[in-house]
């Protein structure tokens, strides 16, 4: 629906905008991901199988700018409508402030596939199903106000309606389910929106930022009507407030990134409701450098700390997987370019010290010419059955992305 509306809008606006600066671009894409370790829960062998066309229109006049980006998708996995309006916004830019209204992607923080202050919706399924990087983030329908007074830069994002992250589809991914026998399930979306504020500036050569977010967890929690004889499970998005900071600057030959955030769960300050995520502290340290030409190495250490661990343990029902008070994760990324940067090998690995949760994503991408590129890669998961990656250990896949850009 959205995509069709967008395409219609493009057609209608094109002549109107004829006098403005106008640019039309887009791509045609094939994207396949097939299982290497067995079938999906739905019996199919593909995580993803589609052709897709994207059309992007940029029009500008004076202080105004319009961006429309829509996808038409032809899916071969029996899904109804993968077409979508990716972005649709209007910018107004003044000397000391600017405004962006509409569907837009907002990304905060410094992590590489680790999210501390990036509280905006993601598409986790896109990552796990071997889709291109552009699909990692989902747009939010929001008003973003930027102000640039002397003391700092200010960015305020207000969304009247909450938008969730997209989690892997249980028909195609083996998701951990503590109550597989319960068939009756329903999801309640938050009835209100959310907002975030970022202040950032240079502090002695370092990029410093402060963040506040008031809204909801982007991924749902689940609650059963009864722990003894459950008949119905409801999914819901608990309230969440985040207070964070980040710092990045050059240290030695590379770039050091530091990020911290306090995750406050206002619906369970005592931490005694196991269905709601415990309040947390999240810390991230990353270092990226280039030891030799065309080779980049990046390392991250990420830790989550549960605030009310004893309350959580005391109320967690028997048989449920136990999270640790401290969770320590290490990630590494190696990127090597070849052939005048037209061939790129990238390997990303993540490993959790506590539960052995692990994820490996090697990818080789080649630009055949200035318009056509292809990437082949793999997603390999491992760890305990309840871990974020461990639950997907039967979902290993090999993927192909082929794109023609115009």
């Amino acid at each position: 629906m959205f995509a069709r509306a967008a395409f219609l809008a493009v057609l209608l606006l094109a002549p109107l905008a004829a006098q403005a600066d106008l640019a039309l671009s887009g791509f045609l894409q094939q994207n396949t991901a097939f299982n290497t370790r067995g079938a999906n829960p739905d019996g199919r062998h593909y995580k993803w199988l589609e052709e897709r066309a994207q059309l992007k229109l940029d029009a500008g006049e004076g202080a105004w700018n319009l961006r429309l980006k829509g996808d038409l998708a032809w899916d071969h996995l029996g899904r109804q409508d993968q077409s979508e309006l990716r972005e649709a916004y209007v910018d107004y830019s003044s000397g000391q402030w600017d405004l962006r209204v509409g569907r837009q992607v907002v990304t905060w923080g410094l992590g590489d596939l680790v999210f501390v202050n990036d509280v905006f919706p993601k598409d986790h399924e896109a990552l796990f199903a071997g889709r291109p990087l552009d699909y990692l983030k989902r747009g939010v329908d929001a008003v973003k106000l930027g102000a640039y007074p002397e003391f700092a830069n200010v960015e305020l994002v207000v969304a009247p309606h909450f938008r969730a992250s997209r989690i892997p589809d249980a028909r195609r991914f083996h998701l951990y389910d503590p109550m597989p026998a319960v068939a009756s399930r329903a999801t309640t979306m938050p009835g209100q929106g959310d907002w975030g504020l970022r202040l950032y500036r240079d502090v002695a050569g370092w990029d410093a930022a402060l963040y506040v977010y008031r809204g909801f967890q982007r991924t749902p929690s689940m609650r059963a009507d009864s722990m003894v004889a459950p008949t119905r499970i409801s999914y819901f998005y608990p309230r969440l407030s985040v207070y964070g900071a980040s710092l990045s600057g050059r240290v030695g030959e590379g770039v050091l990134s530091l990020e911290a955030a306090a995750y406050d769960s206002p619906e369970d300050r005592a931490g005694s409701d196991f269905a709601i995520p415990n309040s947390q502290t999240r810390l991230l340290a990353g270092y990226q450098f280039q030891p030799v030409e065309d080779l980049t190495l990046g390392f991250q250490y990420y830790t989550e700390h549960m605030q009310d661990y004893s309350a959580y343990r005391a109320t967690l029902p028997a048989g449920f997987p136990v999270d640790q008070r401290w969770s320590h994760t290490l990630t590494a990324r190696v990127t090597q370019m070849f052939l005048h940067q037209t061939l790129r090998l990238s390997i990303y690995g993540s490993w959790n010290e506590g539960n052995g949760d692990r994820f490996l994503n090697p990818e080789l991408r080649y630009s055949f010419n200035d318009r056509v590129w292809a990437a082949v890669g793999a997603n390999v998961y491992g760890g305990k059955a309840a871990g974020a990656f461990g639950q997907l250990s039967r979902d290993d896949n090999l993927y192909l992305q082929l794109r023609y850009e115009f």
């Binding site: 500008g60 992607v105 552009d134 950032y200 990226q288 030409e293 940067q341 630009s367």
Partner: protein, 265 residues
Amino acid sequence: MLKRWLPAMAVLTALLPMSVLAMTGEEVMKKAQAAFLYPGKDFKARVTMKLIAKDGGERVRELVMLRKNFGAPGGEQKYFMVFFKPADVKDMSFMTYKYPAKDDDRWMFIPAVNMVKRIAAQDKRSSFVGSDFTYEDVSGRDIEDDSHAIEREEKVGGRDCYVVKSTPKAGDADFGHKLTWVDKASFLPLREDQFDRKGAAYKLFTADEVAVVKTHPTVIRRTMKNQQTGHRTEAVYANSDYEVGIEDSLFSERFLRQPPRKWLD
């Protein structure tokens, strides 16, 4: 090409003081740096780079380059670049704070995830967008990183040049040593022969076309050829202009995310 040169030559020859004759290699290279990378308060060009493989296969990189000086020649500069081609890097933008005698600070805007990221890069030998030019070839190398000596004087394309031999003091350069033909009149480098550490011919830079833009002789077409692989890159600096009034505030995250349209032609 020669015609474009004549007015500049007349002006510059008249201004040349006699003391120039007794310059050292370092002084020549300092003047070359000032003439090649620092003229004007600011500079703008639309750069098209053709990466040409030995078999003739071509790839095109196109960008707008904006540069502003924050001090005397050899001092701090800021660069701002926005890419148009190829399609997969369209709208990507790039900012460098360049400091004398210290590694640059660099930021990149990645449109795919709408993220501004500080990036680490080896200043000395990293290829600029996959071309035969390194970052140093594009934005300069500290004069103090090499020792310089005038080897001889020689003509290039009919123009009198100093031939300066530069040898890196540390082992972190892309080359073992290099010879630069610096025009005695304009002080532009007209040719540069880079040799690898074994002394074999490595990369060859040629200033293919020079035009006078607002009194500044400017290399508007240049080639860097890797003589060992046969790969070469031709760069055209179209719409080159100086004193265009680039604001200090351009060099910020705000404009990396949303480059002002007035700078994008």
